[in-house]
Symmetry: C2
């Protein structure tokens, strides 16, 4: 540091650069209009970047599932570590986000075996490896390595992802749907979020471009639309019919937006629903497809919860399957399906794997999507491999098959029991009603709050559901996200709670919830 | 499919939805202004998305390193597989992109051991594992797992990345620079590209916001500025002085941009240079820091090639070290340093790991950066782990230390030899001059083409350097990127060629290059 200080002093003396250190540089450096511009942006003295000078779209963007309540929870967690006993609970229970492995869900062994072997292929032909890894994981790792040019898992891949992995995914989609799928339609991405951003970036030209989104919605959509400068056109799901999606409502909102000069480009449908947990009926999906075709809308189908179905009478159908079964092909409907390794029974959020299947776009538009994908080079290869694995799981007769099925069913059936237990608990609370989680990972109970609670919230300048969630957190350590982060019918209040806490903790959570709620209602009784 | 067809027929008959299938739906569904809007966007019949109706910023964006020449190379590669002997070469040599492992560079063993163990931690305490993995890799994996809440490598992390890994990176930066670094300043990202996008998204409000970029530049910058709707303000590097960065040139371009009403927000400096390979002198870096401070510019320092230095008399200095050594702290300069696991001696492009170190921004602006990071939840955990490993490598006494150093030095010294061999080869060609690659992974030779070649290019509507690159590819299978993809002084022509082909192939590559070039010059001799 000494040396640098000396060199700096020397430089100031030698000083070809010295002149530019004069006190009022703009007077001799810039033309008058340039000086005005420089002064307008506050050169020299004030910091170059302030809240007033950043992109206002960034300011506008909100992302509630990692918002203020989570920051507060992180502060509490630190306090619990530094001052044990400082709060009336021992741990923070993060029910704000669909992050299963953060709540002790175990990864699927077969998937992790294959990932580890692909990360360090030089152990593949060592004898000890056979003692540590299942035979089909070893075989699968070889198979995957052979799909990768030069077996180089450390190389950038094709911008859409490794071709052989996309072939496997396309085969998995075809097997799931009973209709063909094409590897050229698959774009592998770091989780589904970048894929959603990519489509928003493609479709949104200005605030005159609208995207129909369900309300309540997953805030990735509102955030992405805000960041890309478009308009969110809301359509409300009907809480009274289990968060039903009514085409008449969508049509009304579309017409309303168009009458305001908004060019509505696309509709987002989340199935199974987030945060609402409903699973669309086939008939309803056909209506949506028909509607998109007729109205010239791109259908953006968020299908990341396709494996998370908890009720006997419902089944996941991809929108592509529905469209094809109606006889609609590439020429009829522009459809993007998003899938992620973060959800399902796998819950591999940290691996950032996912894909979008892009169908019904012209070749020249597809080229533009490819170009945007290529600017980021490719998604991470482990995530790509994992995305291929979830679409191509062990088969009957494979060494891992039995344990794989046991792990998978164990997770899904436990999630179903947890969903039911929490749903029942919420419905048992005074002034709370809660629709069933038919699928996905969330419950979205409605709070019918006493007037006094609403007024108390107003005093601290909080939305009533944010007030409730904050009180819940402070009393129990349970983190839920206020409904306002997802959107809700004005004047109604909700929160989103994941169904992910460990099953053996659910009874205690329910007791804490009940005790808090009773005392809250007692405190604010009308 | 049969079943669906039947159900569809039934639906058409039952038909609550039937009315909306009438031939002219807009007439009864929409108000007249809405119908006009619908018709303007071409509902019903024409496809919802055409090249004319997508975001023009996407159209404008270009990304040459994966552009037309690469698509052509991929076609040739397929032809080589289907029709061996169809071309005068046996393989395509991708010298278009810094992707070392695609050209057989081997990953660093220690890094891959740790990654594999973190992917499948349940083998960590098995005895066979000790036969397969080094002791320090096992210890490091335990250490990393203990930094991760619940040891859950499959969970989303903090939006900036796992705190303990950021601590390790901050310690690595501090050890490198001799100045403190803070984990709260680190944002882990999926490679450096998303970090660059994040900063562009933050800084660019409209086309009246400008970003100073070197010309030639790495096209990520021009692509990202185009996608975010800003203006690239070029400053030219001086080829005659080994791609020198002259502050007088930067100042001239800044003033010129300001006189046109452009608010210049930031300057991109790539050190070591891409595509130009120069390593900045300390004195030059101090000038740049001083300039940014005086002019109120954010310094966006692309430092991803910090380990790639091939000449004795040059050394990498981070801009943060330079700024701190000048006595400038958080209040004086807004500085973002980008680092990636894709480059260096590690070359782990497929892992998509990287980070940016963000210093000198106010707390409220930092919160906005955090918010944007949180919308994508987090970067992939393997990439995060790897980013911590490259900043915290095996130490003397560790079991892996000797082999790690041997692998590292082997790669770097081979890269230096390859850079020199290719530089000499280019300079031996008639009408070609080539600056030294002091660092990074590229050479950027200048082509002094005969007039006849320039005219022949015009006939096929190609830039002369694109014409040359295409002819080179067709004759030799060598893929280079025309200089126009990076920007160059108008009327000059270049191409970028990586130094990455395997060392034992370099002589043959040089022969092919020479033979092609001689025949090209012969053909177009003035």
């Amino acid at each position: 540091m000494r040396r640098f200080a000396t060199e700096r002093a020397k430089k100031l003396i030698v000083g070809s650069f010295l002149s530019s250190r004069s006190p009022s540089p703009s007077s001799h450096l810039l033309s008058s209009s340039a000086a005005a511009a420089a002064s307008a942006m506050g050169s020299t003295q004030s910091p170059p970047v302030t809240l007033d000078s950043i992109n206002p779209k960034v300011i506008k963007c909100e992302y509630a599932v990692r918002g203020e309540i989570v920051s507060h929870a992180q502060r509490l967690q630190q306090e619990l570590q530094t001052k044990p006993g400082a709060h009336p609970f021992d741990e923070i229970l993060y029910c704000n986000i669909g992050n299963p492995q953060s709540l002790a869900q175990q990864p699927i062994t077969f998937f992790r075996e294959v990932l580890a072997l692909c990360d360090h292929p030089s152990i593949l032909d060592k004898s000890e490896t056979h003692a540590l890894f299942s035979a089909d994981a070893i075989a699968r790792a070889w198979q995957i390595l052979d799909l990768i040019p030069g077996r180089a898992t450390g190389a950038y891949s094709h911008s859409q992802g490794i071709k052989g992995l996309r072939d496997a995914i396309a085969a998995g989609i075809a097997a799931r749907d009973g209709f063909p799928a094409n590897a050229d339609d698959i774009f592998l991405t770091d989780g589904a979020s970048p894929a959603v951003h990519m489509m928003m970036q493609l479709l949104i030209r200005s605030e005159k471009d609208g995207i129909l989104c369900p309300i309540p919605q997953y805030p990735l959509y509102s955030a992405s639309i805000a960041l890309h400068g478009g308009s969110l056109v809301p359509y409300y799901l009907d809480e009274a019919t289990g968060w039903g999606l009514e085409i008449s409502e969508v049509k009304k909102q579309l017409e309303d937006a168009r009458s305001k000069g908004i060019a509505v480009r696309a509709i987002v449908v989340i199935n199974p629903g987030n945060p609402t947990g409903q699973v669309l009926a086939e008939e309803n999906q056909r209506e949506i497809v028909e509607f998109c075709k007729k109205e010239g809308l791109v259908l953006l189908a968020d299908e990341v919860y396709q494996e998370n179905i908890y009720v006997e009478n419902k089944k996941f159908n991809s929108f592509k399957k529905i469209a094809r079964s109606m006889g609609y092909g590439e020429q009829d409907i522009s459809l993007v399906s998003f899938q992620s390794v973060s959800k399902g029974y796998y819950g591999e959020c940290g691996k950032r794997g996912g894909y979008m299947e892009v169908t019904g776009f012209s070749a020249d538009v597809r080229e533009q999507i490819y170009k945007v994908a290529s600017v980021n080079l490719c998604s991470n290869i482990s995530g790509q491999i994992l995305a291929s694995l979830v679409m191509n799981t062990p088969k009957v007769g494979d060494e891992s098959y039995e344990s794989f099925i046991a792990e998978k069913n164990g997770i899904l059936s436990s999630l179903a029991r947890r969903a039911k237990a929490l749903e029942d608990a919420f419905n048992s609370l005074e002034g709370v009603t809660c629709n069933k989680a038919e699928g996905a990972m969330y419950l979205f109970p409605r709070l019918h709050l006493p007037q006094k609670a609403i007024e108390a919230a107003k005093v601290v300048n909080a939305a009533p559901d944010a007030f409730y969630a904050r009180r819940l957190l402070d009393a129990t350590g349970i983190v839920v996200v206020p409904g306002s982060g997802f959107g809700q019918v004005p004047g109604t209040w909700h929160f989103r709670c994941t169904i992910l806490p460990q099953e053996d903790k659910i009874p205690a959570i329910i007791s804490r919830l009940k005790a808090f709620h009773e005392s809250f209602m007692e405190e604010f009784h009308d």
